[in-house]
């Protein structure tokens, strides 16, 4: 597992470095390319307007644009008093406020992220707690969704295990981690630099979680150096010592499999139109438009328009320098001068901040629309479990949900679990650990569309295990009633083979800002190590953090 993790990190690093090296190589071998010329600039204002500047230069170079009138579509996107220049201006202004540490914008970003968390509260397809088999969990059935950005959950109580514990689960989206590690537009909202298919098909649908059992200490086997007391010599070659508080007991990877994800098909286009014209989503676009117009009004009142002389100079410079450098300099000079008075407007910071908040919500609405249009059919989940004193296991799970909207959501799980590593010689068990099927019904019972919501969940779980559970006997353990040490690697069957039934009723309070408090009661006919029925209780708290990058840039809560 560690090896796989390091390989993944290596792969990410290679992709990152390759992009960097290729970009540099490209700029060195193709200096006449206006796109390379533009992207070589460090000024945010130039980078934000690169697409327009490059298109302008190319159009002049290929002879399509010969006059100022021909250049109108480009000039209208560069003139700060024109509406189509406002979008990029807001991006530039937001970046400048961030770089200069303007508090108001930081607060706006926090507001944006909190608003995203609030918007996500209406979703009942997300799971923040550890999976069913953890020593501390409130989830009997896995849900198809997980944290959009980052979540932290603390759960106490067990469902299928005998040993009660408290687990902390940290979940995040792979795309967020990738953007943070590579520095590729890590705090983006709607204008994320897309990595194309790799991002859309690999990173975005992938969520990863780490489960740490905080009631267990990490242990380490160390060699002993001799008997310290006792009258009879007892050969003990190694002993287990604690190595730290909290133990990583599991890693979960969830990949959302989307149905009909082909934007070229008519079916997808129809689904897309239906999804985006949904009233709530449409209103995010309208709000974004209203707030953009608020900034546009400041621009039109304060910015200097592109005058005829500047337009002529830009055109002439584009004609004389096909690299685009002169055109870029002309625009840079214009932007610096034209934006000076605008940036002094005392209301601009807050209005730009509000646009950024709207862009965050708009992006979330876009992602939700995409999921709805494509149809979330299945989620594949992989769990790597590292239970204490038991063999490690790999669980492969398919999660299917059907949303009846106001009538709630039904989720089905089917899972197969196998033992990790080599099966010991002479083992009386096979590779199979267990198979299970389960189902859950969730419904928001009060507070729909409000900050405080309540949700009820009813779940049933059946697991079939061909052999009893296996317990690893720790090195140095002495056989009861004797002083005979058991050989290293000894395993014993505990509990019984066969069916394990669990039912659970759960009530979840979903508060403002992304806080969830699930409280559940369960009944099971047995647990993994003990015979006899058990009634248990589970309680947890989870928090949907704001942007992952924000945690490291000091802009988060």
């Amino acid at each position: 597992m560690k090896k796989t993790f390091f390989l993944l990190i290596l792969f990410v690093s290679v992709v990152w470095l390759r992009n960097d090296v290729l970009a540099q190589a490209g700029s060195a071998t193709q200096p006449a390319d206006p796109a390379a010329t533009c992207k070589a600039h460090q000024k945010t204002a130039i980078l934000a307007y690169c697409d327009t500047l490059v298109a302008f230069q190319k159009s002049v170079t290929d002879g399509t644009t010969k006059t100022v009138a021909d250049a109108r579509p480009f000039l209208n996107k560069l003139d700060l008093t024109k509406p189509n220049a406002a979008f990029n201006f807001i991006t530039v202004a937001a970046n400048q406020y961030l770089l200069t540490g303007v508090l108001n914008l930081a607060q706006s970003k926090v507001t944006a992220n909190t608003a995203m968390a609030d918007a996500g509260q209406a979703r009942i397809d997300q799971q923040f707690s550890a999976p069913t088999t953890a020593n501390g969990t409130t989830s009997l059935v896995s849900k198809p969704g997980s944290a959009d950005l980052l979540s932290l959950a603390l759960d106490a109580g067990v469902l299928t295990r005998s040993v009660n514990g408290t687990a902390t689960t940290i979940s995040t989206n792979a795309d967020q981690v990738f953007r943070l590690i590579t520095g590729n537009d890590p705090d983006c909202t709607v204008t994320c630099k897309s990595l194309g298919g790799f991002e859309n098909r690999v990173l975005n649908p992938l969520n990863v979680s780490a489960i740490v059992d905080v009631s267990q200490t990490g242990t380490q086997a160390v060699p002993t150096t001799g008997q310290a007391s006792g009258t009879t010599p007892t050969p003990v070659s190694s002993a287990t010592i604690p190595s730290g508080a909290g133990k990583l007991t599991g890693i979960v990877a969830k990949y959302r499999l989307l149905n009909q994800y082909d934007p070229r098909t008519d079916a997808f286009k129809d689904h897309w139109k239906t999804a985006v014209t949904n009233e709530a989503r449409a209103s995010t676009a309208t709000t974004l438009g209203n707030r953009t117009v608020d900034v546009l009004n400041i621009l039109q009142d304060n910015a200097t328009p592109l005058d005829d002389a500047t337009k002529q100079k830009m055109l002439a410079d584009a004609q004389s320098d096909p690299t685009g450098e002169k055109l870029i300099q002309d625009f840079s000079n214009y932007f610096s001068e034209a934006s000076q008075k605008v940036m002094q407007d005392p209301t601009l910071k807050d209005k730009v901040g509000l646009v950024m908040q709207s862009r965050a919500l708009y992006r979330q609405a876009w992602l939700d629309a995409l999921a709805e249009a494509a149809g979330t059919l299945l989620t594949f989940e992989y769990d790597y479990n590292r239970p204490v004193n038991q063999p490690f296991t790999h669980d492969f799970k398919l999660v299917y949900s059907y949303d009846f909207k106001a009538m709630g959501m039904v989720t089905f799980n089917g899972a197969y679990s196998i033992y990790d590593g080599a099966i010991p010689a002479g083992a009386k068990y096979g590779r199979t650990h267990y198979g299970q099927i389960s189902a859950q019904y969730d419904r928001t019972v009060s507070g729909q569309n409000k900050n405080l919501q309540t949700q009820i969940s009813l779940a049933g779980y059946w697991q079939y295990q061909p052999e009893a559970s296996i317990l690893n006997i720790a090195a140095g353990t002495v056989a009861p009633g004797t002083n005979i040490p058991l050989p290293n690697g000894t395993q014993e069957f505990v509990g019984t083979a066969g069916s394990l039934w669990v039912t659970q009723a759960k009530f979840t309070i979903r508060g403002a800002g992304g806080i969830n408090v699930p409280i559940g009661v369960s009944w099971s006919n047995k647990t993994d190590l003990l015979q006899g029925s058990k009634v248990g209780a589970q309680v947890g708290i989870s928090y949907n953090f704001s942007s992952l990058a924000g945690l490291f840039t000091g802009l988060s809560q």
Partner: protein
Amino acid sequence: MSEDTADIVGTIESNFTVKIDSATIVSAFLMVKGQPDLPLAILGNKREVTVPDLPAGDSTVRLDLFWAPGDPDATIDVGTVNSGAAQAIPPKQTIDRGQSPGFALLFGK
């Protein structure tokens, strides 16, 4: 703004549609300086809005958009002219992929 920089020029009080060939319009408004924004009717294909009465001088159509994966830049054009005259001035203006809102500059004369 002026006729020189307008994307669409038409006769005062003309009735026509403004259309785009990419993205989905979810709301649209006619903006005239000093007047409240006028919501515009979106036609069935979600890529066309009706300007019922072109004002004199400068005005702007604001289009709130959602871009589907793979949508290219949208070109602004005049669809159906129901009364009066209106035409998109070449070269036609585009809205960059991913941007919302997008704007079309109108001029009535």
